[in-house]
């Protein structure tokens, strides 16, 4: 699994300088490292060195049942599996995370995963200064053999499947998206979802609303926004909101409790089945980083670190949560069919991270919004 760059984007590896392997060297003394960019030192692509400590830096809480938890949990489990230290630096926000990176370097971590596209500038800069290996998100340009890798998540592909699912399942013909802001990952999925929906139900009505800027904790807001979309006729909600998404679930719950046509919720990242008391969870777009985390560690030890790792439907890095019982067979088939096409590269889902382009795209798909 993993390895090949995403079909949609051209690999950036060629641009990167070639790594000349050298013997393993202890992490450079902080002071020196901090004072002068140690450009003279050779990239520490340390073939053969066993990886003992890996860390992940995440912007929000490791228990957000979303993006942050996904990365943290995956790395922790990989750590357990391989019997190595896995440390999680949570709630880092988008301020200056250099202190944390410095600390991790100081403690001799072999690999630091900067688990947010928002870290894609600071981490490579840090790596270049200190020769500590890092993995960035969504920054192919920074890829440097032996030093910097990049993680590409083709979330839109799985979101497309969710769109297909929604298109098949909706009875009202109205489908709603609720987001806690417009970070790249959410935008990718919004577009993927919209395209999947359009492909399955061209005349569908598509609702889109944002709870607020970085409103990942605003569960109450999420509930109100979701309730409004449901009231506007949506019977399927595709919700992206980490902590806030619990508010969405509750809105759907209360909507269903009123009786009338049942509404479904499609979640992203993370599996809420354990708290899905009223069985309204239709599915979830799941990410699984453990595959590529293991791969990375292998590559570091093999001295082949420093490339683009892609999570897509093909390598099952992103996939849909198994559909609940009682979902008609034809629906499942439609999803399977779409998946097959994506895997066979017959179907390209546009990868759009930019908010404005994203909005342009959904307006183009569903003009009468």
């Amino acid at each position: 699994a993993g390895g090949q760059p995403a079909p949609t984007q051209a690999p950036a590896v060629t641009k990167a300088p070639v790594a000349q392997p050298t013997v393993a060297q202890p992490p450079a003394p902080t002071q020196a490292a901090a004072v002068k960019p140690a450009a003279t030192q050779a990239p520490a692509a340390s073939a053969g060195a066993k990886v003992k400590k890996v860390a992940i830096v995440i912007p929000a809480s490791r228990t957000d049942h979303g993006w942050n938890q996904q990365g943290a949990d995956n790395l922790t489990s990989v750590g357990k599996e391989l019997g190595i230290t896995a440390e999680v630096a949570e709630n880092q926000g988008y301020g200056d995370i250099t202190p944390v990176l410095r600390d991790l370097q100081d403690k001799g971590f072999d690999l630091i995963i900067c688990h947010a596209s928002g870290y894609q500038t600071v981490c490579p800069e840090f790596a270049k200064k200190t020769k500590v290996k890092v993995a960035a998100i969504e920054n192919q340009a920074a890829v440097t053999p032996g030093l910097i890798s990049d993680i590409e998540t083709q979330a839109q592909e799985a979101a497309y499947l969710a769109g297909v699912l929604a298109g098949k399942m909706t009875k009202s013909g109205t489908v709603g998206v609720v987001t806690s802001g417009e970070p790249p990952t959410w935008n990718y999925m919004t577009v993927g979802f919209a395209e999947g929906l359009k492909a399955t139900k061209p005349d569908a009505k598509f609702l889109y609303s944002v709870i607020g800027e970085a409103a990942y904790e605003d569960a109450a807001g999420a509930k109100r926004v979701t309730a409004s979309e449901l009231a506007a006729g949506a019977d399927i909600i595709f919700g992206m909101g980490d902590g806030a998404s619990f508010g969405m679930v509750q809105a759907v719950e209360e909507h269903n409790a009123k009786g009338g046509a049942k509404a479904w919720f499609i979640d992203v990242i993370g599996d809420k089945r354990d708290i899905d008391k009223s069985k309204l969870l239709l599915s979830s777009v799941l990410f699984d980083y453990s595959g590529i985390y293991k791969q990375m560690i292998k590559d570091v030890e093999a001295g082949t670190f420093g490339k683009v790792y892609t999570m897509d439907v093909k390598n099952n890095g992103v996939h849909l949560l198994d559909l609940p019982p009682g979902v008609p067979a034809d629906v499942a088939d439609a999803v399977q069919k779409a998946k097959a096409e994506i895997v066979a590269d017959k179907l390209k889902v546009s990868a759009i991270s930019d908010s404005q382009k994203m909005r342009a795209r959904i307006n183009e798909l569903f003009p009468k919004r």
Binding site: E90, Y94, D96, R102, D103, D106, G118, T121, E213, Q356
Partner: protein, 356 residues
């Protein structure tokens, strides 16, 4: 004026020490209640935050924005202008700096480039400060409310700016173009700390001198004591109010520029360090006494940095840092009370002379 304040110079040091101890003690109790080992945790805090070279340097780096923001808050609060809008002013300033800097980088020499970018930050802050200022003097709107509201507006405005007009098309996340490292704030010679720290120290010193030695500071103080008196004394109250808020906001914007030019290299969506609250805490703990801001700034910076590391290494939820910070504020407040009571007792002992 508080330069003559009766609290003798040394008491704050002592009480501050006690206060910190008290906060850590309560924190320790809380930890042990939840089955954690406080000693180990605190050991990490000290050894990483103070013991390690990177700990010290990073603490000093984090200090810069705190100092700059506090300098501004000192001006506003001494004039009783309640600028709660530091965060918004910071964001707008940072955003403008983040837009201007990359364009200038390389186009013109480093020094003017830094100056102009910093200026952009200051102007951004002032732009955000002038609105509540005018609302206050024109319509008598209480700045506490308007500045709070402006914070939210700033978040949405800047987030739109970096998603739309000013987004760097080359990269995925919403952020401005990156300033090449060669064009960031240079380090203080022989240290890994960028010169933002000096800017911060100078800012605080300037404010100290402003209130100690200038008529403008004196007028701000009178205004802060009682606007009616300021009017009666022939001071231009509206002008003073606007200036106080503008300067304060300007410093906030400068802090934004500092972070963009010093550490981040660009302005980024969802970035909101919220120095305002910490700055407020600092300034009040320093009892609006300018120079005291410096040690407090160092300590808070140390706490924010070491606290996070402690939480991680001793696997305590990071929220524990906030708990410590909050406790410290409470105990500081109590400390102030104790000092005052002692001071009054001293004054009672003054041999009573006859008559008034």
């Amino acid at each position: 004026m508080n330069r003559r304040s009766f609290v003798s110079a040394i008491t704050p040091v002592i009480s501050s020490g006690l206060v910190i101890a008290a906060a850590f003690l309560v924190g320790a109790i809380l930890l042990s209640l939840l089955g954690k080992n406080p000693l180990q945790a605190y050991h990490v805090l000290i050894s990483r935050g103070l013991g390690s070279s990177f700990g010290v340097s990073e603490t000093l780096i984090k200090m810069a924005p705190l100092l700059i923001v506090s300098a501004g808050l000192l001006i506003a609060l001494k004039a009783s202008v309640w600028n709660i809008g530091v965060d918004g002013q910071f964001l707008v300033g940072a955003c403008l700096a983040g837009v201007v800097a990359p364009k200038l980088a390389g186009a013109i020499p480093l020094v003017p480039m830094l100056f102009i970018s910093a200026l952009a930050g200051v102007l951004g802050g002032m732009l955000w400060g002038v609105i509540p200022a005018l609302l206050k003097v024109r319509y008598g709107l209480n700045e506490i409310i308007t500045t709070i509201m402006m914070n939210y507006v700033a978040v949405y405005l800047t987030s739109w700016l970096v998603k739309g007009p000013f987004k760097d098309p080359q990269v995925v996340p919403p952020q401005t173009a990156v300033v090449p490292e060669a064009f960031r704030l240079p380090p203080i010679p022989f240290t890994p700390v960028h010169i933002g720290l000096l800017v911060g120290l100078i800012a605080v010193l300037v404010v100290y001198l402003l209130f100690r030695n200038t008529t403008f500071g004196f007028k701000l103080w009178v205004l802060g004591q009682n606007p009616r008196t300021a009017i009666h004394a022939g001071m231009r109250v509206s002008r003073l109010t606007v200036l106080a808020l503008l300067l304060s906001a300007g410093f906030a914007g400068l802090a934004g520029a500092n972070d963009v030019l010093g550490v981040k290299g660009m302005f980024q969506g969802e970035w909101n360090p919220g120095y305002g609250l910490t700055g407020f805490a600092l300034v009040f703990l320093a009892r609006l006494d300018s120079l005291w801001v410096v040690p407090f700034a160092y300590f808070f910076s140390f706490l924010l940095l070491g606290g996070e590391i402690m939480a991680r290494s001793a696997n305590i939820p990071v929220y524990f840092v906030d708990v410590l910070e909050g406790l410290m504020l409470v105990f500081f407040a109590v400390g102030v009370y104790l000092e005052r009571t002692l001071a009054e007792r001293d004054r009672r002992r003054v041999p009573a002379t006859q008559g008034g």
